[in-house]
């Protein structure tokens, strides 16, 4: 079993507790984004339809959140506040190596209501953004919100697709892949991260970056996301997080270390730990990847 298959790390009791409450929120929050797809076969994963790896429980959870997605004081507030850090992290990744020059083509997987996708599409260095999500209701929210900004309505600037990663065509040649593929606050909703990531990786062009953010699976994060954020403070909707699905940064590093053609050069695998401090907002915390929310970026080697 790959180290990314989480079930063996998860004490059954914890898993059951997390599941029965279905509260999720990260300490930092996890995106109530959509969940990615990946079909898979971990022992405890919910059975899914034959051609999609999307967890139907996750889809219905995010359907319920859809209407408040763009309310700055609603349940997605922490995600909105986190968004500028995503751009910081991507810029840092791209600056660390000789990356392709702008304009940049983005693929955002699990785009939800479009918080990241819209912001990426507005940047002057962006050529286009393709954003996918398997949850129909949040995609409708994303489409409706896009119509509120003429800048996003320019042809091919921002394209939403109600698809899971399995349904997205694989580029006919690697060079036609995307410059930046983002998977924000999605991995923790995926029950089989390995096969999911393999699908995602096919979309990245050589020299491009795969960038993700998620939450470490630690006692701290369980306490903060499942208990404090959802139950005590109520700043994250109940049922957003399932702690057993969290992936640790070490597991990601090890897993990508074994993928041929990825993160081979110096500085081509990057990580940034972040923490939400009430009253101050999201702050970068060196070492935070060990116990809370973190960003992870890996570059596909040039051919």
């Amino acid at each position: 079993m790959s180290s990314l298959s989480l079930s063996r790390f998860t004490p059954t009791a914890c898993r059951l507790a997390a599941r029965s409450s279905r509260r999720a929120a990260p300490i930092l929050y996890r995106h109530p984004n959509s969940s990615p797809s990946f079909r898979h076969h971990t022992t405890h994963s919910t059975p899914t339809s034959a051609n999609s790896s999307v967890d139907p429980n996750e889809v219905s959870h995010f359907n319920a959140l859809a209407s408040s997605w763009w309310d700055p004081h609603g349940p997605s507030r922490l995600l909105h506040l986190m968004n500028p850090l995503r751009h910081d992290f991507i810029s840092r990744c791209r600056a660390s190596t000789a990356s392709s020059s702008p304009p940049i083509r983005y693929l955002d997987i699990g785009c939800g209501g479009g918080i990241f996708a819209e912001s990426a599409a507005r940047l002057p260095t962006t050529a286009s953004v393709t954003a996918i999500d398997p949850t129909p209701e949040v995609l409708r929210v994303a489409e409706a919100h896009k119509r509120r900004d003429p800048a996003l309505m320019a042809p091919n600037k921002l394209t939403y697709l109600n698809k899971s990663i399995e349904e997205l065509p694989v580029p006919s040649s690697p060079a036609e892949g995307y410059d930046v593929v983002s998977v924000f606050e999605v991995l923790e909703h995926v029950s089989a991260p390995g096969p999911f990531l393999e699908r995602v990786m096919q979309q990245v062009r050589p020299g491009g970056w795969l960038v993700l953010s998620t939450i470490a699976r630690t006692w701290t994060s369980w306490m903060v996301t499942n208990v404090v954020a959802e139950d005590v403070l109520g700043i994250v909707p109940k049922g957003t997080h399932e702690w057993s699905k969290y992936v640790n940064e070490g597991e990601l590093k090890e897993w990508f270390g074994r993928q041929k053609g990825w993160g081979g050069g110096v500085g081509e695998m990057r990580v940034m730990g972040v923490v939400y401090v009430p009253g101050l907002g999201w702050k970068e915390v060196p070492g935070g990847e060990g116990w809370g929310n973190y960003f992870f970026g890996v570059r596909r080697d040039e051919v």
Binding site: L81, D88, E118, S119, R147, R148, M153
Partner: protein
């Protein structure tokens, strides 16, 4: 200040029940009209110092210079510019004391070079005293240094800079035309502001659509209200502004003194005397010129404005020299103040060097007055709306902070917009604007509160209050480091 822009906003009328029907009808017909508005990232209503400073910041920064921006101003911006050959014995009666922080900001956006520097007067000392007890405090950087420590060469000597408002706006306009890229609708009134329509292609239902008197319609991603105390933009946004009238008027005038002042041309001094009716201030301008701001009751303001020039001049000199009781009597005379005051001054002992040099004459046509108000908007931001300057707050002029607050607002909003652009946020969203509100609201509120308290403190003649405030003033005067702190705040530093 009087409203800068004579905008007849229909939304303003909506507080009167009778107008409601009309307003609603107009809204409906406007939103169903077929004209497509022109889409802008920033539409700034109001071409005063705050609005111009904001637009100049946005144009000067490479991060925000790609934004499409428009300026709407009811007056003709080009007619009201300061002429470069304006004579130095004639000054506008609308002057402000620019803090070093405001000047630094104007330098950063490249506008300070465009100022007519011959018409700017730096001052190095302030003399402030109590008109009832004569307790006095003097501010200058030399006496404000820590005890026993030598004066550092890097220590600033300038407290602030006196400048005509028209000089500031002319410099900003000149810098803006150098930068280019602003669609300027000058001498254009705002006819209406209403929300846009949800059509098949676009949903502009959260976008303010500004209709101008020339028939143009502008859709604003972010509508900035730099449109003065009666801000139509603030009314459109439904943001309440609370406060009160002081029942005082500020009488202003441009004056010529008998000389350049007691410190000579290189050490200029600002004077402020607190009288029970309000402070009287004399602020230095270049050469022998000075500007007056006399806060007083509306009745006394009316009297002062009605006087012949020689009697007005005598009253200003008396305002810094005679007792509050004598001044009260002098305001009851319909004329003849000059003679009356000459006789009284013979019997009053005044250390002439502790009060401003005598006024020799008043510049014709410069005696004017405006009502003093305290107002603070409930918030500076709304969906696709931000308020700056007098639209957000109106302050008592006793500390000369009004224009500086507007400059601080403009710099902060430009910074907020810049951060939002960098991370691809919609600059009109309430989320993107949050940091502007949190950055400026508390700071402005503190300044509004301090100036209001000072006004109240000095409005009384009750002896216990006079005694305490005089002790306080003398104590502060004796403590160099504390004075340094107060001066740092007044200079806009940290």
């Amino acid at each position: 200040m009087p409203p800068r822009i004579p905008v007849a906003s229909r939304r303003l009328l909506s507080s009167r029940p009778l107008s409601f029907t009309i307003v609603e009808l107009q809204r409906r017909s406007a939103s169903s009209s077929a004209t497509t508005p022109e889409v802008y990232d920033v539409v700034c209503v109001g071409g005063g110092p705050a609005g111009l400073s904001l637009l100049t910041s946005l144009r000067a920064s490479p991060v925000t210079s790609a934004l499409k921006v428009a300026l709407v101003e009811g007056q003709d911006l080009y007619k009201s510019r300061l002429r470069s050959d304006a004579p130095l014995d004639s000054f506008s009666n609308r002057c402000s004391s620019l803090t070093p922080a405001s000047v630094r900001n104007l330098q950063e956006i490249g506008a300070w070079n465009h100022v007519n520097h011959a018409r700017v007067q730096a001052y190095q000392e302030m003399q402030v005293w109590d008109g009832v007890s004569d307790a006095r405090i003097s501010f200058d950087w030399d006496s404000a240094r820590p005890l026993l420590s030598p004066r550092k060469p890097t220590q600033p000597t300038t407290i602030a800079y006196m400048i005509e408002n028209v000089n500031t706006t002319t410099a900003l306009l000149s810098r803006l035309s150098e930068l280019g890229g602003v669609d300027i609708f000058s001498a254009s009134r705002v006819e209406s502001i209403e929300l846009g329509a949800d059509t098949e292609q676009l949903d502009l239902s959260s976008w303010p659509i500004v209709t101008l008197s020339n028939g143009r319609t502008l859709a604003a991603r972010l509508l900035v209200g730099a449109d003065g105390a009666n801000s139509p933009v603030r009314t459109f946004a439904g943001i309440a502004s609370r406060g009160f009238d002081y029942n005082r008027h500020g009488v202003v005038a441009s004056l010529k003194l008998e000389g350049p002042g007691w410190g000579g041309p290189n050490h200029k001094i600002a004077y402020q005397r607190f009288l029970p009716t309000g402070p009287i201030a004399m602020l230095p301008l270049p050469g022998d010129m000075a500007t007056l701001v006399w806060s007083t009751t509306p009745e006394r303001a009316a009297t002062l404005k009605s006087l012949a020039p020689n009697d007005f001049v005598a009253m200003v000199n008396a305002g810094f020299r005679l007792s509050p009781t004598e001044l009260e009597y002098l305001h009851t005379l319909p004329s003849g103040q000059e003679e009356e005051i000459a006789w009284r001054e013979k019997h009053t002992r005044v250390d002439e060097r502790s009060v401003p040099m005598r006024v020799a004459s008043v510049q014709q046509g410069t005696v004017a007055s405006f009502p003093l108000r305290m107002r603070h908007a409930d918030t500076y931001t709304g969906e696709r709306v931000a308020l700056v300057g007098d639209a957000a707050h109106t302050i008592h002029p006793l500390a000369g902070q009004g224009l500086n607050q507007g400059q601080g607002d403009a710099a902060s909003l430009a910074q907020t917009i810049s951060e939002a652009v960098k991370s691809g946020q919609d600059i009109g969203s309430t989320l993107a604007l949050e940091s502007y509100n949190s950055d400026r609201y508390a700071e402005n509120n503190t300044m509004l509160g301090v100036c209001d308290k000072l006004h109240r403190l000095y409005s009384t003649e009750a002896w216990p209050v006079v005694g305490l405030r005089s002790v306080g003033l003398r104590a502060v005067d004796a403590m160099g480091p504390l004075k340094g702190f107060l001066m740092g705040r007044a200079a806009g530093g940290s």
